[in-house]
């Protein structure tokens, strides 16, 4: 935490210095500018702290390497469970990163300022979720083929796995934001998030894995991907709205 606050202290003045025009408060920024600024701020914070995104990927790869130790190195078995292992470990890695989505902002008071901004809070939440996905979901997406190779996953499974993860991991970040916002300030908040979020993750997990299984079984993959896309499209407007309501309660 001390590392994080230090990085924040270094980041915020720089941000103001780099964009002197932004300090002009007389005209509130437009929706898109505000969105882009929050994304940029969160990305800058993530970059200054380095390692955080790397840790999530390390967790992902390490957890995935545990399964062959537990189940034995039989290639056929590993190839069959590869999509499931990738999805379940990616889900746990996202879960691990959720707690700090709003916590640092909540603790140092910037969350209160964000709720006071003229930009709707749900847009700010969407921006923070976008930054969260860019620093966790995207690295996981890039690391997934590595695990596929280690598990001797059949070649034709890579494309659907990546497509399913590209559609599914943003949904994980979006749903996770609701859980992270709800547990702000709770006792044992970190333990509560999995309890709230995992049940809601199950549909994404089911269709993410069945997309890969469909290709391996030779049936059309499109329906599963379309359902994943539908979940994402439903989550984009609804999840930030619910998370914003929860954040307002947290700072009340």
């Amino acid at each position: 935490m001390s590392m994080e606050t230090k990085a924040r202290r270094e980041t915020e003045p720089n941000a103001a210095a780099a964009h002197p025009v932004e300090a002009d408060l007389s005209t509130p920024p437009g929706l898109f500018t505000g969105f882009a600024r929050v994304v940029a701020r969160d990305l800058r914070l993530a970059l200054r702290q380095r390692g955080d995104a790397g840790l999530v990927v390390m967790f992902f790869v390490l957890t995935a390497t545990l399964f062959p130790f537990g189940l034995g190195p039989e290639p056929n078995l590993l190839a069959r469970i590869a999509p499931g292992v990738v999805w379940v470990t990616a889900l746990l890695a996202v879960l691990l990163s959720l707690e700090r989505l709003f916590l640092a902002d909540y603790e140092d008071g910037s969350l209160e300022l964000l709720t006071l901004s003229p930009i709707p809070l749900s847009v700010i939440v969407l921006a923070k979720v976008t930054a969260h996905w860019l620093t966790t979901g995207l690295p996981l997406l890039i690391a997934a083929p590595v695990i596929g190779i280690m598990y001797a996953m059949p070649g034709e499974a890579y494309l659907p796995l990546m497509a399913a993860m590209a559609l599914g991991t943003p949904t994980l970040s979006l749903i996770g934001a609701v859980g992270a916002a709800l547990t702000l300030g709770a006792r044992r908040g970190g333990v509560l998030i999995p309890l709230l979020v995992l049940p809601l993750y199950i549909p994404v997990l089911i269709f993410g894995i069945s997309a890969v299984d469909a290709v391996l079984a030779g049936v059309p993959v499109q329906p599963h991907l379309m359902l994943l896309g539908a979940m994402l499209l439903a989550a984009v407007p609804l999840a930030p709205w619910a998370a914003a309501a929860a954040l307002r309660q947290a700072v009340e």
Partner: protein, 254 residues
């Protein structure tokens, strides 16, 4: 009560009449003995009829009688969650204090019904399907419902400020309500092991009347049981808050 109600305009204002916990307590006290008596009557009659006077199924034998507990508890599991979600919406939109209490009070009862549905389903599944548990769409989504109830109860009690916990729980309840239609239609959307609904079919139900009537009476008994326990829990909740306030006040006077 009725003469008072007649002078009030209907609609949302009549809803707000019950926002007063004191008025709610008076109403609950008046209704409770009748609901409790009706619960004992219907539940007793339904269970006795179902267990001793219904024919065994030609395929399932006596195990079919698990259905008389399983089906009503599964219905109530969904009904209780819908109640929690509706009460949560009312609590969030109108800041309705009694709705808040209702959502909080209904959640553990619903979790109990969900557990009962899962447990009886498992007991029935062993002789019929040859397994205690299958990863079937309906079983899985009911299990998710059970987790949602647990999460709802956990978050409501996770804050120093009880009001904040309840508001957070209300948002969670509304997010989780997506699962209710998934449970309802899972057996139609996916062809899985669990049989599709046989009571609510359009036209004649696919269940013989000698089994349908005891089932419906037991279901009514379950619903009345839910209402009774809900009213009791809400009453004790309100009284607990009052006792706490009184204790605080007496501490302040000292």
């Amino acid at each position: 009560m009725s003469s008072e109600a007649a002078t009030q305009p209907s609609g949302s204002r009549s809803l707000h009449r019950f926002a007063n916990p004191g008025r709610f307590l008076r109403l609950a006290d008046a209704v409770l003995p009748w609901v409790a008596a009706a619960t004992i009557l219907t539940l007793g009659a339904g269970i006795i009829w179902a267990l001793f006077f219904t024919p065994p199924d030609y395929q399932q034998g006596q195990t079919v009688k698990i259905m008389y507990v399983h089906v009503p508890s599964a219905w109530m599991a969904m009904f209780a969650y819908t109640t929690v979600a509706a009460a949560s919406a009312a609590a969030l939109i109108w800041r309705h204090p009694v709705a808040d209490i209702a959502a909080h009070a209904a959640s553990p009862i619903g979790a109990g019904f969900t557990f009962l549905a899962l447990a009886t389903g498992s007991l029935w599944g062993k002789p019929m399907w040859g397994t205690w548990w299958v990863w079937d769409a309906r079983l899985t989504s009911v299990l998710v419902l059970f987790f949602l109830y647990i999460g709802h109860m956990a978050i409501a009690n996770a804050f120093e400020d009880a009001g904040r916990g309840r508001r957070a729980a209300a948002i969670l309840a509304l997010v989780g309500v997506i699962n209710v239609p998934i449970i309802k239609f899972s057996v139609d959307w996916w062809h899985t092991l669990h049989q599709p609904a046989s009571v609510s079919q359009i036209g004649a139900p696919a269940i013989h009347s000698s089994m349908l009537w005891p089932l419906l009476i037991t279901a009514l008994g379950f619903k009345l049981f839910f209402v009774t326990v809900l009213l009791l829990r809400m009453k004790s909740d309100i009284l607990a808050v009052r006792i706490k306030t009184l204790r605080m006040m007496s501490l302040g006077e000292r």
